[in-house]
Symmetry: C2
């Protein structure tokens, strides 16, 4: 980030017509945004939502309440404008790009082999990198993929250790024997790839999926272009955590948008040192939690860049 | 609220293209809004922010970090568009009406007599009632008034008991001896009006202020017109709590927008049984926390009323 912009933005905050600190998190959020944009008085221009969709070999193991064909059906719904992310994008003025990643070729079942070959993994990361609009002023990486909370739980456990049960949640709504089976699937994947768990990118290739790899690639591209990122829920955060595990500080350009109701999300955010802006009980993915946080960011930056100073308004200071 | 609209909105939520419950609080929020609007598929039209400003006799007792003339200066700032609430109103598309209540006539010091005469109290409540646009689809009641966290703490203690120190917070930023003096002022007010603490409206008249009375009047008018309300921070909630204390259920048309950093707010929300939508550390007032929550409500209602159903989108159910 730009140290000069941060210093100027911090100085500006102290002059605005409000008691010092009284806008709380809006103040630190605006200064963070100013730093990454290199502009002490920025606007949130051209926010972009990139939604990545993929299919998973482990979906055949009944880890989801929904059949795998829902992934392609939901991609059509995104394209037709009927999904939650479409309505939220419209509400907060963000553009959506939907990237379907080889939906007719699910990843391999990670209990049997690596989810992706090295070529497949590189192609998925590159798709994510290429999807980022260089002119975007903010990025949200969203996802859709039946079975992907299972992949994300395996990635989280692979990166940070602990038991599979610590990271597996209800996803779209599994419970009872199906939840036990989901935990067993993650345990089998961790056992199968035990030799690779020290290497974050290898964890992502073996236990993740194309949309997780693409999100990691997109968040990396955003860093390269100094585009701030709002992280979405459990799956997005698992993908992002790969970058942080590989290189601490890699997510300094990202804030956590929303604490998901999915079981392992709070622990995952703690591992990467992020405090979520919102906690509204969503567990949908698509980028929905992060886009709600975009609404907050827009308010924070509007206050920061648009409020009058004490001097401009003729208001007495403390 | 309209039971038919609630039933229809609840049925609609179950048909939208998402796992049941996966939009969390957005779902219950949209159904609540539909019920009060009497429309199972509503839009958030014409949101209104009414900002009430007043001056307080207790401000002469050094209970604030700012001099009392800041109230009138900030009213000018609201009218010029330079305050935080102006920038947030623009961000989320709300109209602002600023109502200055006899700024050249502060209330009486409540440690010596009732803050308002019966005529003054009635006039302030009537100003609040009259400020509500009958065509508004949502109301936020905001405030500005140097010294008004002291009045709000006194009202909260008068309604719900406990020690003055339980309800007094830092306000605009008082600490040390000034904070002790603020607590002593509230204690003196409670002692002075001990005979009236069983009557919520009398508590508001004796210990409150014109902007608190106006907010209570506005929230009551919104109920009469079935306009949903988002509550702001400590002062707004103290005013609203008078209505709930006078008649349980009086705030069913209101949701809590934001948990303020002001000390007593969490306890006050608990007393009226409300869970805040946001918790972003603001402690500014003006309606700012509630308007940020308006951004969330707009997203919730956009999803509810605009998403495709499983049947419309050809998506398989669970």
């Amino acid at each position: 980030p730009d140290a000069g912009a941060i210093a100027d933005a911090t100085a500006r905050q102290a002059q605005l017509t409000k008691p010092a600190g009284s806008l709380g998190r809006l103040e630190t959020l605006a200064i963070w945004y100013a730093g990454w944009r290199g502009d002490a008085r920025p606007q949130v221009t051209r926010p972009q939502i990139a939604v990545f969709a993929a299919n998973h070999g482990v979906a055949a193991r009944s880890v989801s309440a929904y059949p795998a064909e829902v992934t392609v059906q939901m991609v059509a719904n995104f394209q037709a404008g009927g999904a939650a992310i479409n309505r939220l994008a419209e509400t907060y003025g963000a553009r959506i790009d939907v990237v379907a990643l080889d939906l007719d070729r699910p990843t391999a079942d990670f209990t049997e082999s690596a989810a992706m070959t090295e070529a497949e993994f590189a192609a998925a990361m590159a798709s994510g990198w290429a999807a980022v609009d260089p002119q975007a002023g903010l990025l949200v990486a969203g996802e859709m993929g039946i079975g992907n909370t299972t992949a994300a739980a395996a990635v989280a456990a692979g990166l940070f250790g602990g038991q599979a049960a610590d990271w597996v949640g209800r996803g779209t709504g599994v419970a009872g024997p199906a939840l036990a089976g989901k935990i067993a699937t993650v345990e089998a994947g961790l056992a199968r790839h035990r030799d690779a768990l020290g290497d974050p990118l290898e964890v992502l290739r073996r236990l993740g999926g194309r949309e997780l790899a693409a999100m990691a690639g997109a968040i990396l591209a955003a860093r390269h272009r100094r585009i701030p990122v709002l992280l979405d829920g459990f799956i997005c955060t698992a993908a992002a955590a790969v970058l942080e595990a590989a290189r601490p500080g890699a997510l300094d350009h990202a804030e956590a948008g929303h604490l998901s109701a999915e079981g392992g999300h709070a622990a995952l955010l703690e591992r990467i040192g992020k405090t979520p802006l919102l906690s509204l009980g969503l567990r949908l993915g698509e980028g929905t939690g992060a886009v709600l946080a975009l609404g907050v960011l827009q308010g924070a930056v509007a206050c920061h860049s648009g409020m009058a100073t004490f001097a401009e308004a003729g208001v007495s200071g403390a």
